[in-house]
């Protein structure tokens, strides 16, 4: 196990990692921007260094400063959290060339799965179903049009360098397709520095189901079952749960095995998430592999009882996974609500400000992961998430009741939150009966 690591992130995930390290006896070095100076969670770290002004691009994303902090902090490894540099293969490579372990996959595996088109090809090679689409990149308009006719409209144009819902456009007909291709390429070039695109059939009314995986460097690869993240708004997840409701047992088993097959083929180590969409007929299709620990990882921790951050540290320090596939036995149902400082009645506008009152829920089966407290200043520089509220109960119905109760207990004053939105979702019959798809929130509560 490492003696000391650096946490290259902020907020709730930094706190999460600091906690796991404390329990393992691993010393920690935190980094912070001037906007996060004095944040309470930094007190959990053994050392903390300021790495720049508030803007992420001038602080948390500054590779040289993060590495310098790692050097003066004398750490053996860096945990990148999620977002920021977590899926930056260049950063992972620099860490290793500075003889600092990167807590995540190898930069080669990261680069491979980061190329969505390459990941799709790999999936096909190991018989992981993919959405019908182009065989590789789309080279020209004519090719795209003829393929779209084969697949049938609507089609989805996707950026090879995109991901997480970015760099996608739907086209309903030839004309739309032609202009969408040009726009998609321009946007991809601007956003990712890479204009490569591919085409997929647009699956309508999909559910989003992802599989948590983890692999060590001794050839052990394990899945920790699935999470359903269908409740999204503009590709941002709001509510996640496990197990995925109404998922056929055979389908579940197949998807989980497919996920493991895929990460073996990619030589992928440490934690990752394999994302699928499931159509109304129950067909599942691989979408992308997220090469990082995810925001909603606690959902899986609650149903499996396995600490994923500790597992990441163990794997990165060269140890074997402390559990085999047969040891992973999910129990009960878990739900997570992402609480954001946003006004759900004003188009989810972020509402930075000072939290004047913060009452946190508790009780049997409630977990609240948050770096926020009374007096905390929610700044405008970073994402607006102020906490993750999770519940774990023997059945889904009980989990829903528990979450409603916990949400009703929460008091947040000084900023607006998405708590009212979550309450609406949990009260909605469609959610309770799992008659939802990824467009549900936008259709039911249009801006």
């Amino acid at each position: 196990m490492f003696k000391r690591i650096l946490v290259a992130n902020r907020g709730e995930i930094a706190l999460r990692i600091l906690r796991a390290c404390r329990e393992l006896g691993v010393e920690t070095v935190a980094v912070f921007s001037e906007a996060d100076r004095g944040a309470a969670y930094l007190e959990l770290a053994d050392e903390a260094y300021c790495i720049g002004p508030p803007k992420a691009a001038e602080s948390y994303l500054k590779i040289d400063r993060v590495i310098s902090a790692a050097e003066i902090g004398n750490v053996q490894a860096i945990h990148p959290g999620y977002g920021f540099l977590a899926e930056n293969a260049h950063f992972a490579e620099i860490c290793r060339s500075c003889e600092i372990e990167f807590i995540g996959p190898s930069h080669e595996a990261m680069a491979l799965v980061g190329d969505k088109n390459a990941a799709r090809k790999l999936a096909k090679q190991v018989n992981v179903p993919t959405v019908p689409g182009s065989d590789g990149l789309v080279e020209g308009e004519a090719q795209a049009v003829s393929l779209a006719h084969e697949l049938g409209f609507p089609v989805l144009i996707k950026a090879a360098a995109g991901g997480g819902g970015r760099g996608m456009r739907v086209a309903l007909n030839d004309l739309a397709l032609k202009s969408a291709i040009q726009q998609a390429q321009a946007e991809a070039e601007a956003a990712f520095g890479n204009a490569e695109i591919y085409l997929e059939k647009y699956v309508e009314h999909p559910r989003h189901v992802e599989v948590q995986v983890i692999a060590d460097r001794h050839g052990n690869a394990v899945h920790l079952f699935e999470r359903d993240c269908t409740m999204q708004r503009r590709h941002q997840k709001l509510v996640e749960e496990s197990p995925a409701p109404l998922l056929d047992e055979n389908t579940r088993a197949e998807m989980c095995e497919a996920a493991v097959r895929l990460i073996r083929a990619a030589d992928y180590t440490n934690a990752g998430t394999v994302e699928f969409i499931v159509d109304p007929s129950g067909n599942y299709y691989f979408i992308e592999l997220n090469a990082r620990i995810q925001v909603e990882h606690p959902v899986t921790e609650l149903v499996t009882g396995i600490d994923l951050i500790k597992a990441q540290l163990l794997v990165a320090s060269g140890e074997k996974l402390p559990f085999a596939q047969g040891d992973v036995k999910p129990q009960g149902a878990s739900i997570e609500c992402r609480i954001n400082a946003e006004d759900s009645e004003k188009n989810f506008r972020p509402t930075p400000g000072t939290i004047s009152r913060f009452r946190v829920p508790g009780g049997f089966g409630v977990r609240f992961d948050s770096h926020v407290h009374e007096g905390y200043v929610v700044s405008p520089y970073y994402d607006s998430m102020i906490g993750k509220l999770l519940v774990h109960q023997p059945t889904r119905a009980e989990a829903i009741a528990c979450m409603k109760r916990a949400l009703a207990e929460m008091r947040v004053e000084g900023v607006k939150t998405t708590i009212p939105m979550h309450q609406k979702i949990l009260d909605h019959a469609a959610f309770n009966e799992s008659r939802v798809d990824t467009t549900f929130i936008e259709r039911t509560w249009p801006s």
Partner: protein, 163 residues
């Protein structure tokens, strides 16, 4: 807080105090206690009385400078060029006062520097970065020890500008 305030002959900056009061009202704060070096401002509501403690500096020809605020989402007020200021580290790394262990330090207290004068080295990732003063003035204090770690924004030298 790591920054020290410059010499301040302007005891009341009424605009700043008014802004603080407005912020207190807006966020329903009952108390603000700000300290910067030897200067401290304490504001309490709802009693309309302001307390301020101030430790006077020895007489100094430099003119008063506005205090840099650490308030939420407010841009930093840049120090006026004719006042005492800080040279801060633009990077994270290890501070070296001299070009090499055998040489004398780049600067010492009392030295005059110009914007391009190299005042120290901050080493990071095996690269020895020479740090220029970026202001003109006289070094009045060296704030970090040779070989110590420095973070972004950490004050390295106190400088009386204009000299």
């Amino acid at each position: 807080m790591k920054e020290s305030s410059p010499t301040n002959q302007d005891i009341f900056d009424v605009r700043k105090i008014r802004r603080l009061v407005e912020m207190m009202k807006a966020h329903d704060l009952s108390e603000i206690d700000l300290q910067q070096g030897e200067v401290r401002i304490q504001l309490r509501r709802p009693q309309p009385c302001f307390q301020q403690s101030f430790v006077p500096q020895p007489p100094n020809p430099a003119l008063a400078a506005p205090m840099k605020q650490e308030a939420v989402a407010e841009p930093a007020v840049p120090p006026r060029a004719d006042a005492g200021i800080m040279i801060k580290s633009p990077m994270v790394g290890t501070f070296y006062a001299a070009p090499d262990p055998e040489s004398p330090p780049f600067v010492k207290v009392g030295d005059h520097v110009g914007p391009d004068t190299i005042v120290c080295i901050v080493e990071a990732m095996k690269v020895f970065n020479q740090i220029p003063a970026e202001v003109s003035g006289r070094i009045t204090a060296v704030l970090v020890e040779n070989g110590s770690s420095v973070e972004f924004g950490q004050p390295l030298f106190k400088i009386e500008a204009g000299g």
